[in-house]
């Protein structure tokens, strides 16, 4: 009668279901939190990667283009373009700053990206509408009013022709681009660099960073190295360094607590299974005593309990795995759960549950068959 453990589980179905639900919820949380971190990691880097630039320049002491406060004068552009190892005229100034646009009368959050059309730093084409107009003057001109136009992220739900307000100025939505949301679904608003300076910096002719592309014959590391002793008071980083900076600043550091929480949840899953197995074993000591009195070996008793632990763990872990993908699909923020990573997490969780179940099941093996002579089951 190989299914005796199933009959026992069916008899104690409420406890079995509650235990499986407990494991499901814990696995779901572990995977979902991992998915949030993955989502942040993807969003943190997708814009940077999309620019095509592999050299990122920020002000000295800023700690990186996206990390600290960085203001550069545009005059550096000339020297940058003259640097060896860069693709000709690839250097481009960039404004990248958080903003609080008023959208449909409500304050919202977004990141303003000001760049020169046709240069590195923004999308080259739109999905709907058109690209914003180019500034009439390449150099800064205090009297000139730049085109108050903006190209928005497709997921913002804005219509072409709608108006949004940034820095007290009204900008017209002229186009929509493929979504390149920044961390935690922060949409990007693309505009002419002069427009960004106008609405965010009060026409102050500064940029946050400059970007460029190294030529095929020279590695970005070599290009970055030649600026090490530059008198320009700038920091030069490669694409990889910039990505590492962003991930560390926007994902790893703020999510340290979440990583800790994930480990705690793993522990909780193990403790939950161990505790319930232990309590169930205590509750069944007399039954186990009877089984041993009628000839059950320690191995038989251990197998009986471990089969239950394994089955409950499999059910809980699988349900958690499936639900995590469903929840990720309907979550209000971007959650990216990788199948392989989830399977690894699920397998580890399964073994944590089984191991703690095994520790508790050892109690059952030690049950004295003499218990069969006392009390009621």
């Amino acid at each position: 009668m190989n299914n005796i453990f199933l009959k026992d589980m069916a008899y104690r179905r409420t406890r079995v279901v509650l235990t499986a639900i407990g494991i499901t919820v814990l696995i779901l949380l572990i995977l979902f939190l991992g998915g949030i971190m993955n989502g942040m990691r993807i969003q943190a880097t997708q814009y940077v990667k999309s620019t095509g630039a592999d050299i990122w320049i920020s002000a000295e002491g800023s700690g990186g283009a996206f990390i600290g406060f960085s203001m550069l004068i545009e005059e550096h552009m000339g020297q940058l373009n003259a640097a060896r190892g860069l693709e000709p005229h690839s250097a481009s100034p960039l404004v990248f700053a958080q903003a609080r646009p008023i959208i449909r009368g409500k304050p919202s959050k977004a990141i303003v990206v000001g760049f020169r059309p046709g240069k590195l730093g923004g999308p080259t084409h739109v999905l709907e509408g058109r690209m914003f107009e180019k500034s009439e003057f390449e150099d800064y001109s205090p009297e000139y009013v730049p085109p108050l136009q903006v190209v928005v992220d497709e997921k913002m739900g804005l219509e072409i022709g709608e108006r949004i307000v940034i820095g007290g100025k009204e900008l017209k939505v002229v186009g929509k681009v493929k979504s390149l949301m920044f961390v935690l679904d922060t949409p990007l608003l693309f505009m002419e660099i002069r427009t960004a300076q106008d609405v965010l910096l009060g026409s102050y002719p500064r940029v946050n960073m400059m970007i460029a592309k190294s030529s095929e014959r020279v590695s970005p590391e070599q290009v970055a190295k030649q600026f090490e002793y530059s008198p320009l008071k700038i920091e030069v980083r490669t694409l990889q360094q910039t990505i590492d900076d962003i991930i560390d600043y926007y994902v790893v550091s703020p999510m340290r607590a979440v990583t800790f929480l994930r480990v705690m949840l793993w522990l909780a899953a193990g403790i939950l299974v161990g505790m319930i197995t232990y309590v169930t074993t205590l509750e069944k000591t007399q039954e186990i005593g009877v089984l041993k009195a009628i000839g059950a070996s320690n191995m038989y008793v251990m197998q009986l309990i471990l089969k239950q632990v394994v089955l409950i763990s499999i059910i809980g872990v699988l349900c958690g795995l499936i639900l995590s993908f469903i929840f990720a699909a309907v979550a209000p923020i971007f959650v990216s759960i990788h199948l392989l990573e989830s399977i690894i997490v699920a397998v580890i969780s399964f073994f944590v549950c089984c191991f703690s179940g095994y520790l508790a099941a050892r109690k059952a093996v030690a049950v004295d068959p003499m218990l069969a002579f006392r009390g009621e089951i």
Binding site: S297, N298, I377
Partner: protein, 224 residues
């Protein structure tokens, strides 16, 4: 008549020092093949402890135990094998597994002994029909009366054709009619299977069925 179970100088102590209890004190005791022996005596006199020692449930502090001519070597031997192959138990409170039907409760004993499932099922059905439960095969313990549960318990004890069945107060939780029915069953089973049975009981009315009455007091055998 061969000896089925024999204890020589069996002693069992629970606890140490002044708080310790000498439950069985140097008992020499043997049960012959086909015998129905009744162990009687006041509560706490050591009856249950003695059959636990004889049934390989407890390990004696001192003494020797022989079952079916083979000495039991307590520290080294897997006693679960002895329990499932040579001994059957009937408990005062029946102790059927609540999640199994009457039929499955009998099958499980044979399953432990590694008997094939179809053979085990046929044998379990035979035994349950023999104890008068042919219409209760698929009933769970909660759906059975006390007397019916004890019948299932006897069927389970006999499942592996044991050398001896130990029954601990089998009628203690039954009314007089159920007790009488159970004892009739015991008589029938003895005739049918020639089973050796040792019953611990307080029930004076059962004396008439015994081949031998063993009276215990303070862990010792007073008279046989």
């Amino acid at each position: 008549m061969g000896i089925v179970v024999e204890g020589k100088g069996l002693t069992k102590r629970f606890g140490d020092g002044e708080a310790g209890v000498l439950a069985v004190d140097s008992v020499d005791f043997a049960i012959g093949e086909g015998e129905l022996v009744m162990l009687m005596g006041d509560s706490g006199c050591g009856k249950t402890t003695l059959i636990s020692l004889l049934g390989c449930i407890l390990t004696p502090n001192e003494g020797e135990l022989w079952i079916d001519g083979e000495q039991i070597n307590h520290p080294d031997q897997d006693l679960s094998v002895v329990r499932r192959e040579k001994i059957g138990f009937v408990f005062q409170l029946f102790h059927l597994l609540p999640y199994l039907t009457a039929l499955e409760n009998v099958i499980v004993a044979m399953d432990l002994a590694g008997k094939k499932s179809d053979l085990a099922e046929n044998r379990a059905k035979e035994l349950l029909i023999q104890v008068g439960l042919e219409d209760r095969l698929e009933h769970r313990p909660a759906q059975l009366s006390g007397g019916e549960k004890q019948r299932v318990s006897f069927a389970r004890a006999l499942a592996n054709n044991p050398n001896i069945v130990f029954a601990d107060e089998p009628t203690a939780n039954l009314d007089s009619r159920q007790s009488e029915n159970l004892m009739s069953l015991v008589r029938e089973l003895r005739q049918e299977h020639s089973t050796t049975i040792a019953i611990v009981t307080h029930h004076e009315g059962l004396r008439k069925d015994a081949d031998r009455i063993v009276q215990m007091k303070d862990g010792r055998i007073l008279s046989e």
